[in-house]
């Protein structure tokens, strides 16, 4: 078996783990607010992209409904992490007492939200898994809109369109990147395991996979359950970073961004998903000064708001034209491969 280095190496060696922790610690201490928030959003997007990759990249269950999952998980966790006085006195939710009058710490809330997301995901998956291609996409798209509609129409439980505020700021580098590395590690291990290979087999050729004795429904549900669990957690992390939750928080645009991450990174590649997350997270924010107008040699370049979004669309199309398989293709980043490539280029 080929040994994959890169991410797994980090998990394998205590020194690697120590180094990562040290780097995170230094980043946490030294990064200014903007870059820290961007770094956190990058981490959250990594979680979202890697978990979406399980369904969309491997099992070929192309979902654009993960926004609805984030919403479900986000609300489930939010109802427990919000301060009691906010739930009771300020917005007056009509919830049973055991929800209304408690505030729980972050970890149980994360797990709870993850489980709720997973359950909702599997409920969606059951009818949707019979469908393929465009119909699956359509059903998941509808699921997204349905979840928004439900959140809007249950003001007693969700505060409707007004949304929820006053979250404690739980999300930090440790939560985000701890979970991000966990997701990456799980994904890489999964890829080599029987379950992961079953996902990929289903994605490649469903009939063949069935002939090989893979229980389609079971593995599709595994894929969806796992993917939605971490997607929901990603949503909860987002909520406790931006401190806002409202029905339209995870709109189609956000889902589209996550889908874009895995497509330009390379569908099916975990490291591709991470690279995609980095590009999409950073792109509009890092380039933002361009559209805000600036001075060059005393000449003021005017505002051109929207330019970065336009550029992102153009770059996206260009990447898909020039490298349709994405940056990483289906492969993974590995130190060995890099070393090989470097030595080859030296030899030449």
């Amino acid at each position: 078996m080929r040994v994959r280095e890169g991410f797994t190496a980090v998990a394998r060696y205590p020194i690697g783990i120590g180094l990562v922790v040290l780097v995170l610690f230094l980043l946490d201490r030294s990064l200014p607010g903007f870059w820290l928030t961007l770094f956190l959003l990058f981490g959250i997007n990594t979680i979202l992209a890697v978990s979406l990759n399980i369904t969309n990249g491997w099992a070929n269950l192309f979902s654009i409904g993960h926004g609805g999952i984030m919403l479900a998980g986000g609300y489930a966790a939010a109802l427990f992490t919000l301060p009691v006085f906010f739930k009771v006195d300020i917005i007056g939710l009509h919830l049973p007492g055991w929800i209304l009058n408690v505030q729980i710490p972050f970890l149980p809330a994360l797990l709870l939200g993850g489980v709720v997301g997973s359950i909702v995901g599997i409920l969606l998956a059951l009818p949707a898994l019979r469908l393929r291609g465009i119909y699956f996409i359509l059903v998941t798209l509808g699921f997204n809109l349905i979840m928004v509609s439900i959140a809007e129409n249950l003001p007693n439980y969700t505060n409707g369109a007004m949304g929820l505020r006053q979250f404690p700021l739980y999300t930090n580098v440790w939560w985000v990147w701890g979970i991000a590395f966990l997701v990456i590690y799980i994904a890489l291990r999964l890829r080599k395991s029987y379950i992961g290979r079953a996902f990929i087999a289903i994605g490649r050729d469903q009939e063949l996979a069935e002939h090989m004795g893979i229980n389609l429904l079971k593995y599709k549900i595994y894929a969806f359950g796992l993917s939605t669990f971490f997607t929901a957690i990603g949503g909860i992390l987002w909520v406790h970073l931006i401190l806002n939750l409202f029905p339209n928080a995870f709109s189609l645009a956000l889902v589209f961004h996550v889908v874009t991450m895995i497509v330009i990174g390379g569908m099916g590649s975990v490291s591709g998903a991470v690279i995609g997350a980095a590009i999409i997270t950073g792109f509009t924010e890092v380039l933002a000064p361009i559209e805000e107008g600036f001075q060059v040699f005393g000449v003021q370049v005017p505002h051109l708001f929207g330019l970065t979004t336009l550029l992102l669309a153009v770059v996206l199309i260009l990447i898909l034209i020039l490298r349709p398989q994405g940056i990483m293709g289906e492969g993974e980043f590995s130190l060995q491969g890099l070393r090989k490539r470097l030595s080859r280029s030296k030899a030449e």
Binding site: F62, P127, R130, L131, G133, I134, Y135, I137, L138, V139, L141, G142, F143, L145, I146, V148, S149, I150, E152, N153, A253, F256, V259, T260, V263, M267, L304, F305, G306, L307, T309, L310, L312, A313, V314, L316, I317, L320, I321, P324
Partner: protein, 293 residues
């Protein structure tokens, strides 16, 4: 009874526009397998072209309508050129993403150029007013919209069913390679398909402007989802199905708002999608057999 008929008329008007959008949407899907998210922006561009002709240049309505359709075709061909042709054959997902990117790009460009403020789209004098039968208002614009739908729909069906180009389109949708060996120029057929689909979006845009009196840079965002639904109800790739699907959707949504308690109107989205899910799961091919694909 008057109330019911009045609401039906509202539904038919809304449904006709969705039908027109859905028909164009379903054509690009049926013939070249493209889930064209940018269809909404093609539609929007048509509305803007007509708006500029009508309100800025002060041209007569007929000319503005033609220019609107031409505007939609221009953006449609642009989408084909930048987001479809270079990635053709790379699978549905890639096409889906490029069309979404094109959609966002074009929308952002329009917001940058013309802002997202609502702009007026005034009705020509001959469409203003209504025939009053008892308490029932039958708007001239509704009549016009329905006539346009029927005429354009019939032309479209004739084109797809009877003409050489239509047969070539359908042959191509089934097996592009074999179609080519019959001497069918698939490049040309794709362009023609885009032109027709965009023209339909342009017609829908004019119908929209006349019916609802306002246009915006982001007006294409939501209707494209409705068009998608309409074409799935009718069976993706089926022009006639998409028209029926659009009418069903429009009338259904309208009656939902008309008869349910107002507190439940917000659940309209839920209702539409649940109906759609049932259709997809029970009869995935939609209500009608595909006749383009």
């Amino acid at each position: 009874m008057t109330y019911f008929i009045q609401q039906m008329l509202n539904g038919v008007c809304w449904g006709s526009i969705l039908a027109m959008l859905g028909a164009g949407y379903t054509m690009t899907f049926g013939i070249i397998g493209l889930v064209n998210f940018a269809h909404g922006e093609i539609f929007m561009a048509g509305a803007f072209a007509a708006y500029f002709a009508l309100h800025v240049a002060g041209l007569p309505f007929g000319v503005a309508a033609v220019l609107g359709i031409l505007g939609a075709i221009a953006i449609g061909l642009l989408v084909e050129r930048i987001a479809f042709r270079p990635v053709r054959g790379s699978g549905m997902i890639t096409l889906f993403i490029t069309s979404f990117a094109a959609s966002i790009g074009i929308r952002t460009l329009f917001v940058m150029l013309f802002t997202d403020r609502a702009k007026p789209f005034s009705m020509p004098a001959f469409l203003k007013g209504a025939y009053l039968i008892g308490d029932l208002f039958i708007f001239k614009k509704t009549i016009a919209v329905v006539i346009v739908l029927v005429v354009v729909g019939a032309l479209l069906m004739y084109l797809v069913k009877k003409t050489k180009t239509g047969i070539a389109m359908r042959a191509m949708s089934y097996d592009s390679e074999t179609a080519q060996s019959m001497g069918i120029n698939t490049e040309k057929i794709i362009i023609i398909t885009f032109i027709i689909a965009s023209a339909l979006a342009g017609v829908a845009a004019i119908m929209w402007g006349v019916s609802y009196g306002r246009i915006r840079s982001s007006m294409g965002m939501m209707p494209v989802v409705d068009a998608f639904i309409a074409s799935v109800i009718g069976g993706l790739g089926n022009v006639f199905g998409a028209i029926v699907g659009g009418l069903i959707l429009g009338i259904g949504e309208t009656l939902f708002v008309a008869y349910l308690p107002p507190e439940l109107i917000g659940l309209r989205t839920l209702f539409v999608w649940i109906v759609l899910f049932i259709i997809i799961i029970v009869k995935p091919s939609g209500l009608f057999r595909a006749n383009v694909k």
